[in-house]
């Protein structure tokens, strides 16, 4: 691989592996040394073996738009993204701070609403958010925790700094890939892990279970994972987490409200459920309170929750924090609730709701990424530089019609990581989704999902839009890598 590494081009982007001078960054030195010793053929054989393992293990997601029974594996690239211990500690501090502020915001916005009274976040923005659930007002979830599991998407810009792209406080997915990618990497590069001190990620399911149990008052609570079922694209993850935690995976039809508590139907009758790690959306949780046509939820569940007889994690109502307009206020929330300066800045965001910013966005749309505030997964967005004038006009029309629902951000030059493409290494843009558990104290998983836009030049990393993933190594020593003689 020596010659391939030498001929690799950074093309003026921030490269995670190489300095602009072409020298290898400290965190990558050990790995790149190992990589130089193997041939392209060997690497490709390893890549092939990894892909086969994904198929044999059935680590797949369903794609509905392409007809019945189409299963895909998430494309996986062998070359890891490596983060030094020092850099990670900054990220970790920023994430913990952010999750604390988001949690405080949710408790406030469904409670005393001081954040509105003190004019930190405008009332009309909150009340017009599709994630804001009136039914949750006045509710105190167990231990007063709302955001029990979150994934916060970060990017690194050309200035070398990390920025928050968006928060996922509802049902973030991807952690199973973090764990499975690592298992496969350990098998494919066994020796490398002996020479590089990478923080393990495999304790996540245990920590998740501990956090869920902490939320309940019941000693030895009965914890379950609630899935929408096998046709959900994240089904693999739901069953994976249930299996790794050693708890039951249930569907809505397995649960029933009986005598004021939530129970599951077993071969020996009903058994009470105490904690539900639900991977079902808020709107589908209980047809009596939310969407009445949903078959995924449990009639009467919300009432049991409101009376404190079952724990739902995350708490219903967290979607308001995922609203891309409200996301823009998170730095203000950090100052307001924690009296601290934000460690991780947001990607600069223009709110089309504000007339001045709206006009700026419309005038400069070809330099912007425009996003619908309530959407995720790479849907409902326009990348100005990669769109036609007609598409831009279409979005301008949408913005004018419903300005509250659109935000815009400058096109950020996402950092790149060398990726095996065909017979060579090419730089591809990446982002990073770390996962944070918040029971008693926030806990950041030392790793995360590095998503990579595999199409040349593309900035869209979502798996639904042709993105793949890479293993993310957080190094455990301060030097960034272990010297080896």
């Amino acid at each position: 691989m020596k010659d391939l590494l030498q001929s690799y081009q950074s093309d003026g982007f921030y490269d995670e592996v190489f300095f602009p001078s072409g020298d290898v960054r400290p965190a990558y030195r050990s790995f790149i040394n190992d990589l130089q010793a193997i041939s392209l053929d060997e690497l490709r054989a390893k890549q092939h073996a990894a892909e086969r393992t994904y198929i044999a293990r059935g680590i797949t997601f369903n794609v509905y738009s392409e007809g019945e029974g189409v299963e895909r594996t998430m494309p996986f690239d062998l070359l890891p993204r490596i983060v030094s211990a020092e850099e990670w500690s900054g990220i970790e501090r920023g994430l913990i701070q952010r999750v604390r502020a988001l949690d405080a915001f949710l408790d406030d916005v469904y409670g005393k609403k001081l954040v509105i009274k003190d004019k930190v976040v405008p009332q009309e923005i909150i009340e017009s958010s599709s994630g804001y659930l009136k039914a949750c007002e006045g509710i105190h979830p167990p231990r007063n925790r709302w955001v029990n599991i979150s994934g916060i998407d970060l990017i690194r810009h050309s200035d070398g700094h990390y920025y928050v792209l968006e928060d996922n406080c509802r049902v973030p997915s991807g952690v199973s890939y973090v764990l499975e990618n690592r298992e496969i990497m350990k098998r494919v590069f066994p020796g490398v892990f002996e020479r590089t001190h990478v923080c393990p990620v495999n304790t996540y399911p245990l920590r998740l279970l501990e956090m869920l149990e902490y939320l309940s008052d019941v000693p030895e609570p009965n914890v379950v994972v609630l899935t929408p079922g096998i046709y959900n694209s994240a089904y693999f993850e739901h069953s994976f987490l249930a299996q790794q935690m050693g708890v039951e995976l249930v569907e809505g039809r397995d649960l029933v409200v009986d005598n004021g508590v939530c129970c599951m139907r077993t071969t020996r009758g009903l058994k009470q459920v105490d904690v539900i790690y639900r991977r079902v959306d808020d709107e589908s949780l209980d047809p009596q309170v939310f969407r009445s046509d949903s078959l995924l939820g449990v009639p009467g569940l919300f009432d049991v929750y409101r009376k404190g007889r079952v724990v739902l994690a995350n708490a219903p109502g967290t979607g308001v924090a995922d609203d891309k307009v409200i996301c823009a206020f998170v730095p203000d929330m950090i100052r307001y609730y924690l009296h601290e300066d934000p460690v991780l800045p947001n990607v600069p965001t223009y709110l089309c709701w504000r007339p001045q910013e709206r006009e700026h966005v419309i005038a400069n749309i070809e330099k912007m990424v425009v996003k619908e505030s309530g959407q995720s997964g790479g849907y409902g967005m326009l990348v100005g530089s990669a769109s036609t004038r007609a598409q831009q006009e279409d979005f301008i029309g949408k913005i004018r019609k419903d300005p509250r629902n659109y935000i815009a951000q400058p096109i950020m030059a996402l950092s790149r990581v060398p990726t095996l493409i065909g017979n060579g290494l090419e730089g591809r843009h990446v982002d990073l989704r770390p996962f944070i558990l918040f029971g008693k104290e926030p806990l950041v998983l030392s790793g995360g999902l590095t998503r990579v836009a595999l199409c040349k030049g593309s900035l869209v990393v979502n798996s639904s839009q042709g993105g793949g993933s890479k293993d993310t190594w957080v190094l455990s020593n301060a030097e960034g890598s272990v010297d080896h003689a």
Binding site: G58, I230, E251, R265, T267
Partner: protein
């Protein structure tokens, strides 16, 4: 355990066992077509008759040719009982209980499914090898299950599904003889008749056992082994006794008594095999005897459904 999970495990194992038995059906005929004298036409219709899907077959194909029957019973996705359909259903069931079964079990059913699906797309290769691979694949699955799954409720639901399906399919394999045509009525007891019987024995892995236990080919002894034997693992009686043990392990009620409708129904079926012999079968008529058994098995299936999978609270 969850009723839905018990249901999935039960059906996952029924489907796998069904796929294995279909592979055995096919194997009988392929070996028969090799052994039979050249002037006799190959008989493919009995295979479809015995599965009970002949109307479905005739709605899709013209005549009972080798190609059509192989396609229908092995790869046809519109036949819910074809090997590929069974493996698809087994895999879908496995997927819904992935967190309950061992990851080795999931992996084996996934790989087995993928290999047959692959064969469907390529549609070439040796069929005998394919059926052998399917049998080996399901044996491997059973072995993995036996040695990696806790022998608790989930195992017993798995075993129940597997053994009831096996009892049913052994009955159908024997019944296949009823549908095989002999060239002339006086061919009963001739070389051709015996060839057909030995093919059936081979398809149930009973040929060597039979030779050791009984020696020469005799219709009554063959029935004794395949229907009434308590030790031969593919015999109907053996399968039912094992299924009964699992059924009682689930409820905790002692074997020989019953605590629910499913146990009562299975107990009645077993009593019949325990206190019948080949004379009763002959007296009743082989085909009618087996037919009656299958009707009772269906009733048992319904009782299992109501007792465990669909309780009304």
């Amino acid at each position: 355990m969850l009723s839905r999970v018990a249901d999935s495990i039960y059906w996952m194992n029924r489907c796998i066992e069904r796929a294995e038995n279909y592979a055995r059906f096919m194997d009988v005929n392929i070996s028969l077509s090799i052994d039979l004298p050249r002037d006799l036409p190959e008989q493919w219709q009995p295979l479809v008759r015995v599965t009970g899907d002949d109307i479905l077959f005739e709605s899709q194909y013209g005549e009972y040719s080798r190609e059509a029957v192989v396609e229908f019973l092995t790869f046809n996705r519109n036949n819910p009982n074809s090997i590929l359909s069974c493996l698809t259903q087994a895999r879908e069931n496995a997927r819904t209980v992935r967190e309950i079964i061992s990851s080795e079990m999931w992996r084996q059913i996934n790989e087995l499914y993928l290999s047959v699906k692959d064969m469907t797309m390529k549609r070439h290769g040796n069929l005998s090898d394919l059926y052998r691979d399917i049998k080996n694949g399901t044996h491997l699955f059973n072995g993995i299950m036996d040695s990696t799954l806790m022998h608790n409720e989930s195992y017993h639901f798995a075993n129940l599904g597997r053994l009831l399906e096996r009892a049913d399919k052994t009955a159908r394999i024997i019944d296949m003889k009823y549908f095989y045509l002999l060239p002339r009525i006086e061919d009963v007891g001739t070389a051709i008749d015996l060839l057909q019987w030995s093919a059936l024995l081979k398809s149930t892995s009973a040929y060597e056992v039979y030779r050791k236990k009984y020696g020469g080919m005799d219709f009554r002894n063959i029935l004794e082994l395949l229907v009434f034997d308590r030790e031969f693992p593919r015999a109907i009686h053996f399968s039912l006794l094992e299924a009964d043990r699992s059924l009682h392990a689930i409820s905790g009620a002692p074997v020989g008594a019953f605590g629910n409708a499913a146990e009562k129904e299975l107990g009645k079926i077993i009593a019949r095999f325990s206190f019948n012999d080949v004379d009763d079968v002959v007296h009743h008529g082989l085909h009618e005897y087996l037919d009656d058994f299958q009707v009772r098995l269906n009733c048992l299936g319904e009782e299992i459904f109501h007792t465990f999978f669909n309780q009304v609270h």
